[in-house]
């Protein structure tokens, strides 16, 4: 049995650590690139969203490399995600790959469901081994996200543009190579220190833009054409609403205990949207209401034809809380120059708005 996994941002690093520690045979397909996208687009149903297309591309590349058991997240959420695995398996079979897709239900049984799948895949490895591997994977995830947060702060104010991105790329590599907790800790302190030493423009007061929207396009820079880096270049500090480490912390450990980090958002969205509409639609509306005061603007990312985000997009302009929102729909047709022009115009608008506020 050879396991293959799709990509989502840097998630492959903790997954790799987990599978390595369980001594399983696995392949990580190449990180998302134009070829992955073309493969996905060619074999997907026409109207599918970009997360489906990219993950399908990954799965085909993994199957090509000999994987016969493909992990794919699933959930009985309300968006199409729950149907992904079914269709992707059919596509793979029709292409002649004899691979089985194992759906990893993330929404129903939380942590235990996930651990059970791991147990099954690892041929009944002892629980102690599974849990220690799982913990190590999670630690890597946390380190990555912590460094990324620091990078987001440095990007807009660094004197030499691109320093933070360079450091982040190195940090990702170092995290991938670290093979025990000690090394991991060293990587973390080392890179956080380096980031804090990056020469900054002390007078800069960067605009703060929240990045909200659909899970996958938020976390996969390839699908949103590096919107965060581009905003950084324009001197904007980004605050992303979703981090994988936070999400795992809550959805695997705290939500079953009754702690829900999203209650705040739902409450804020209540006057405009009274119910869960699947995906991250409810949260997107909530973010807008909640952050209207403390952010300068919001960039709303959604895959083209994403059902929950379209509803959110329709509702957002009607809120009393006023903050500029730029919606960017991501699909294979999204071109970088077009997106850059829109971002520049948006940032100009935010600058004017801030200046006008200061005058008043």
């Amino acid at each position: 049995m050879r396991i293959g996994v799709p990509h989502m941002g840097n998630l492959y690093i903790p997954l790799k650590a987990l599978l390595e520690r369980l001594e399983l045979d696995f392949v990580i397909p190449p990180v998302n690139n134009q070829h992955t996208l073309s493969l996905g687009v060619r074999y997907s149903p026409e109207g599918m969203c970009i997360p489906f297309k990219l993950t399908l591309g990954n799965l085909i590349e993994a199957a090509e490399a000999g994987a016969d058991t493909l992990l794919m997240p699933a959930g009985s959420g309300i968006c199409r995600l729950g149907y992904y695995a079914k269709t992707q398996e059919q596509v793979l079979h029709s292409l002649g790959y004899n691979a089985e897709i194992v759906s990893v239900g993330v929404s129903q049984r939380k942590l235990f469901g996930l651990l059970e799948v791991i147990k099954r895949l690892s041929n009944n490895a002892p629980w102690s081994k599974i849990i220690s591997a799982f913990r190590f994977g999670l630690t890597k995830l946390n380190v990555l996200d912590e460094i990324e947060r620091a990078v987001q702060k440095v990007r807009p104010v660094e004197r030499v543009k691109g320093t933070a991105n360079q450091l982040f790329a190195q940090a990702v590599k170092a995290t991938e190579q670290a093979d025990d907790y000690k090394a991991l800790k060293r990587v973390k302190t080392d890179y956080l220190e380096q980031l804090s030493l990056v020469e900054r423009d002390e007078n800069a007061e960067p605009l703060v833009v929240g990045i909200i929207g659909e899970f996958y396009v938020l976390l996969e820079p390839f699908s949103n054409l590096d919107v965060e880096k581009e905003l950084g270049k324009l001197g904007v500090e980004v605050r992303r609403s979703i981090f994988t480490s936070e999400w795992t912390k809550f959805s695997l450990f705290l939500n079953p205990l009754g702690v829900n980090e999203k209650d705040r958002l739902h409450k804020a969205a209540m006057p405009y949207l009274k119910r869960d509409i699947g995906g991250e639609g409810w949260e997107s509306v909530g973010e807008k209401v909640l952050h209207a005061k403390d952010y300068d603007g919001l960039v709303h990312l959604a895959p083209f034809t994403c059902m929950p985000e379209i509803v959110a997009q329709n509702i957002m302009p009607s809120t009393k809380e006023n903050i500029p929102v730029l919606t960017i729909l991501c699909d294979e047709q999204l071109g970088k120059p077009g997106m850059l022009t829109r971002l520049e115009a948006f940032v100009d608008l935010l600058k004017h708005r801030r200046r006008a506020k200061v005058k008043v």
């Binding site: 309300i78 699947g278 995906g279 034809t305 379209i310 009607s318």
Partner: protein
Amino acid sequence: MVKVGIPRALLYYQYYPMWKTFFEGLGAEVVVSPPTTQATLAAGSSRVVTDTCLPVKVFCGHVLAMVDKCDYIFIPALRSVKSKIYNCSKFLGLPDMTRAVIPECPPILDIDIDINKGKRRLYQYIYELGRHLSRNPLKVRKAALAAWQAHREYKELMINEGLTPPQAIARISDAETPPPNPDQPAIALVGHPYLLYDELINHRLIHRLEQAGYRVLTPEMLTPEQLEIAITRLTGQPYWTYEEEVVGCGGHYLESGVEGVIGVIAFGCGPDSLMMDMVQRQAIKLGTTPFMSLTLEEHTAEAGIATRLEAFLDMIQRRKRIEAKLCV
């Protein structure tokens, strides 16, 4: 008398007799918006963001058409009608979305329908809905029971007599409908009722088929058992609320010996992009029944539909001729 408006779009075709009975049982007058016109569609699309799907644009147009004609508008948020099976986000957010894009809309009567929360919760919601019109819980109960009965009769009427929803609705209100002719060759239509029966957005598809001498079969004419068997064969466990209309119905008709199957979807429809793909794959796998998929959107031109339909019917004719030759 209080007037409750029901937009002639989306779920209207599935539930109209039920809703009508319910609200009339509570002493309200039910107003339905007129059939879709180009103006309805244009008005609807001017309010929502461009990426919204065609049926929802049409729906907004219908709501706009009734803004000053009724005291309430009924827009349910239909989340789930079967255990663990959910609906498209646009149905869930429909009341909130309408309120956001049409601020001048009369008060919206919304009801959360979610079987997963248990029957008790559902009954509570029904009482809450009824309270807008009547303070008497017994009256609400009576109206709800009558509504349920009306819904069952409506469904049975369509299954037993092979009627489409508009025909069945006409029959309920005592209009004459010509009985279908069982000797004619049949073509099956697969898709959601709001696409199949809205004559503007599908450019009178059913009428065209009938003119060409075909009998039209639709999802509503199948029994729940037939649909369930077909779904199990194709996908195992159903996932979407209206999966039977597409996957179940498509799966059934592909093996039922009809002349051809036409799948109708709206551009950008999330669930359909996957479900129609399932049906298409099955059609290719079986290789017995011709299958065509029509994608509808605002810019779909009448001439385009007519041409594709003609080509499809020609192909069926040609196939028949070849088969007849082979038999001799």
